[in-house]
């Protein structure tokens, strides 16, 4: 097991190294002068020359890259010309918002997905199975941003039950909860649908196994058969899906934060791209990649713990 963990950590570090190379060369791939791409067009000649030397553009690419990587690892992520403050401070204020909304979405998405998938799998061919299957197939293809707009139209503008924009930890608690409802639901619907389909598929496979027949023959109640044996085995692929869902949730956050005007990582990345604030874009890509790689690593390791067959292999 420790060999497996060390191998996965090594692979994750290799991936993050390649992400850092991509994030670094992004500056030089953007059309135009890299100094203007970093600082914006409105600078003087002296500022240009100072920035040119500070960015190490008078040195070789390898020296520049390792200098940038060292600064990144030690917490110096450059300065945002749009926000006129260090990038680390800008991200520090926005990352918790996206992580908070994202994690709640993943938990809700996975929980409801397992529940609905179990119901659908257990009642194959019945009305509940057909209804859940059709809804999950439709929900899986629903554009996240459109769902957010639909939710805003119905629950904010028409019914007036929920706020139509904003989310902040500084809001009073009940307002914060109400502000989080629509973004979280919009983000979690896709996850619910994908998890439901996987769980249903897993249940259909597991429920036909010999050990399930044996459990029933032993006289166990149906609920014991389902909860003690079927779900535990059917839920294993869902663990892998949960790791992938972090990617989907982070991607969805970009649209959701635009719709609900939330100051999170998604909207920061969008603003960075639109204003060509390359330092912000580089840092956002690195942070997002670290989050995704870390969550995938945790999921892979936990899969080995949950399924003894993986450990023995």
């Amino acid at each position: 097991m420790s060999k497996y963990i060390l191998k996965r950590i090594g692979q994750s570090l290799a991936v993050l190294f390649l992400v850092s190379v991509f994030a670094f060369i992004l500056l030089y791939m953007v059309p135009g002068d890299p100094v203007y791409a970093m600082l914006g067009g409105d600078i003087t000649r002296e500022q240009y020359d100072i920035a040119y030397r500070e960015m190490g553009l008078d040195r070789s690419v390898m020296v520049r890259y390792f200098g940038w990587l060292f600064r990144f690892v030690t917490g110096d992520w450059g300065k945002s010309f749009k926000y006129a403050m260090p990038v680390v401070e800008v991200i520090g204020s926005r990352l918790p918002v996206t992580m908070f909304l994202g994690l709640i979405s993943v938990v809700i998405g996975t929980g409801f997905g397992i529940l609905l998938g179990t119901v659908a799998g257990k009642n194959r061919g019945k009305l509940s199975d057909s209804f859940i299957t059709v809804c999950s197939n439709l929900g899986a293809v629903m554009p996240v941003f459109w769902l957010a707009v639909l939710g805003m139209y119905i629950f904010s503008l028409k019914l007036g039950w929920l706020p139509s924009h904003g989310f902040s930890f500084a809001s009073e608690p009940w307002l914060m909860v109400r502000q989080a409802v629509l973004p979280v639901i919009s983000l979690s619907v896709g996850q619910i649908c994908i998890t439901t389909r996987q769980m249903r598929s897993g249940m259909l496979e597991v429920i036909r196994q010999d050990y399930i027949r044996t459990a029933r023959a032993k006289g166990l109640k149906e609920s014991q058969v389902v909860y003690r044996h079927a779900i535990r085995n059917a839920v294993l692929p869902v663990v892998t899906l949960t790791g992938m869902s972090i990617r989907n949730v982070v991607a969805g956050a970009v649209s959701i934060e635009q719709v609900f005007a939330i100051a999170g990582m998604g909207s920061l990345l969008m603003n960075g791209i639109l204003s060509k604030d390359v330092a912000v874009v580089q840092a956002c890509i690195m942070i997002i990649a670290i989050v995704v790689v870390l969550s995938t690593l945790i999921v892979d390791i936990s899969y080995g713990i949950l399924d003894p067959r993986i450990r023995i292999k």
Partner: protein, 286 residues
């Protein structure tokens, strides 16, 4: 021989359309293709035709889905938006499939260092959510239809590379491949004459389902303002424009979203149907 081929095709289509849901999905896709191709004949308005005296109107007999804030007919823009979505979806997937298949073929066949390096690059691309990768690449390539196709194509390459890699690994040591090597066949001949044709079925399935996902990605980029440039009609852009006008004409924002959902659903179910028709062992559970 021709008779045999015709028989095989008939059997294939019978298997493909044996499920009602696949028939519905194929009909949906065909409907949108017809709407896109014959758009100029289906509506009396042009996609850029403005009527500033009829701005943000609700659905009427003259404008079935109302008008937007430039007085353009919403239904017309939706029909022309189908062209944008289908064109970008098909071309991007074609780019991704060709590049990904070639890379997967090479890395799977040659293995070793080539496979290791390519696998890490693929892992790197997959560690960045594809929408964000597409946004970062849009920063480099710019915002026009051609660049968007390239950007979406590149961001989807990893999926095809991984699939092709797995396929090649499973058959490259097969007896008939070994026999070809013994007979003196070169690597290029083996790759393109024997390995590639036997690995194409899953690629075709993925390709069909991926068109839907690419259309979804394109509409997300357009919603965020990083898709096709206005005034080109695009469904995502229409949802974005319509968001600020929800109380005046909600159809403007909601109708394009329904179209995106139906078209993506159609391609996804068609992809599932193709999978079942090409390999019954992989029969899905829809």
């Amino acid at each position: 021989m021709n008779q045999e081929r015709i028989k095989q095709w008939k059997k294939f289509f019978r298997r493909l359309f044996s499920r009602k849901l696949v028939v519905v999905a194929a009909s949906l896709v065909l409907f949108f293709i017809i709407a896109a191709v014959f758009a100029p004949f289906l509506t009396p308005y042009g996609p850029y035709q403005q009527d500033l005296s009829n701005v943000l109107t609700k659905p009427t007999t003259a404008h079935w889905l109302g008008t937007d804030r430039s007085g353009r007919d919403v239904l017309t823009r939706i029909l022309y938006g189908a062209r944008t979505s289908l064109a970008i979806g098909v071309v991007s997937v074609a780019i991704a499939a060709v590049m990904g298949t070639l890379l997967g073929l090479i890395s799977g066949y040659y293995g070793g260092l080539v496979n290791m390096v390519l696998s890490r690059i693929i892992d790197m691309m997959m560690s960045i959510p594809s929408l964000m990768l597409a946004l970062a690449l849009a920063l480099v390539f710019g915002r026009n239809m051609g660049s968007l196709m390239i950007v979406l194509g590149i961001s989807t390459v990893p999926t095809y590379t991984r699939l092709m890699n797995v396929q090649v690994l499973s058959i490259k040591n097969a007896d008939y491949i070994m026999a070809e090597k013994v007979l003196g066949a070169g690597n290029i001949r083996i790759l393109f004459t024997h390995i590639l044709p036997n690995c194409l079925s899953p690629i075709i399935v993925l390709l069909t389902a991926n068109i839907g996902m690419t259309i979804l990605a394109e509409s997300s980029l357009s919603f965020l303002g990083m898709g096709v440039n206005p005034p080109t009609a695009s469904w995502g852009g229409m949802v974005s424009d319509g968001t600020t006008q929800l109380l005046i004409n909600p159809v403007f924002a909601l109708a394009p979203g329904i179209c995106i959902m139906l078209l993506v659903f159609g391609f996804n179910v068609l992809g599932d149907g193709l999978r079942d028709a090409l390999d019954p062992r992989l029969r899905g559970s829809i």
